[in-house]
Symmetry: C2
Subunit: 162 residues, 2 copies
């Protein structure tokens, strides 16, 4: 993890990674996410977290970010706008849309080597996008894609390559 990450970023990325790891250990797709709010005190607070639940809940919509948003529950618009969303993998277009809907000002992405989602659309809409290029996130995701490619491709709406 690059040394220049703030305390909040270390907390957010570590929380997201642990969610991804938990997902992997449950037999699921190892993508984790969390929301960190920057309170008035300046102390970062994890509002909620989650991991991809395609396998565990037979879910077509609970990607890491959607899962984190769902587990966090209902919030007023202003809370999202004072928060950063962390995700271990570049957000797909659905999760990109969720980030834009709630107008998060900033997204921190563990890695985008295994998949590149809607980063350009986020930037075009004024969202700050930080890609950490984290080794642990990369290795975990790469391992899953190698082990269970058909589940991974299903998750991104694609046919498994022959």
């Amino acid at each position: 993890m690059p040394a220049q990450l703030s305390e909040a970023d270390r907390l957010g990325l570590e929380t997201a990674y642990l969610e991804a790891k938990r997902g992997y250990e449950e037999g699921g797709i190892p993508i984790g996410s969390c929301l960190v709010h920057h309170g008035e005190s300046g102390k970062p607070k994890v509002l909620g977290k989650g991991c991809n639940m395609r396998v565990q809940k037979e879910s077509a919509t609970l990607h890491g970010e959607i899962s984190a948003l769902e587990n966090t529950g209902r919030l007023k618009a202003g809370v999202y706008r004072g928060s950063t969303i962390y995700t271990t993998l570049s957000p797909c277009i659905m999760c990109t849309g969720a980030i834009l809907l709630y107008r998060f000002p900033r997204v921190v992405i563990g890695e985008n080597r295994n998949y590149v989602g809607g980063e350009e659309l986020l930037k075009k809409n004024g969202v700050e996008v930080v890609v950490v290029d984290d080794e642990r996130c990369k290795e975990l995701m790469e391992r899953f894609i190698r082990e269970k490619p058909e589940i991974w491709y299903e998750d991104i709406g694609e046919e498994t390559p022959k």
Copy 2:
């Protein structure tokens, strides 16, 4: 409802509307959705349906379309690509992203007078967008926004206008 709607479109829109109506009767946001697959026999089949569950499940992600996708469960990529998604209201950017993720070729929208979501992004990505301008969908949504504006604005990540 315009006379030129096909049998599949009438089925899809009616199913989505009944979901919206059910949501309203449960005290929720009246937006409904469903997926209709066009099988080889040519006979349309409703794969799944759902309505916005913000109120009923305290959910930040179960918009009408996400709810329909979630209730439908896991599908192979090809099934989405042979289906139409119906929604009573123009899809927000999160639901637009979900439609793009799964590459639905076609979206049928009950109305877009009360809200306009990501229609342009859908078209730009080659999705056929049909807006029916259905009176029942419009009236039900308009009534809800008038009755519970703070819940509606929360649902689209905005502050309630003063």
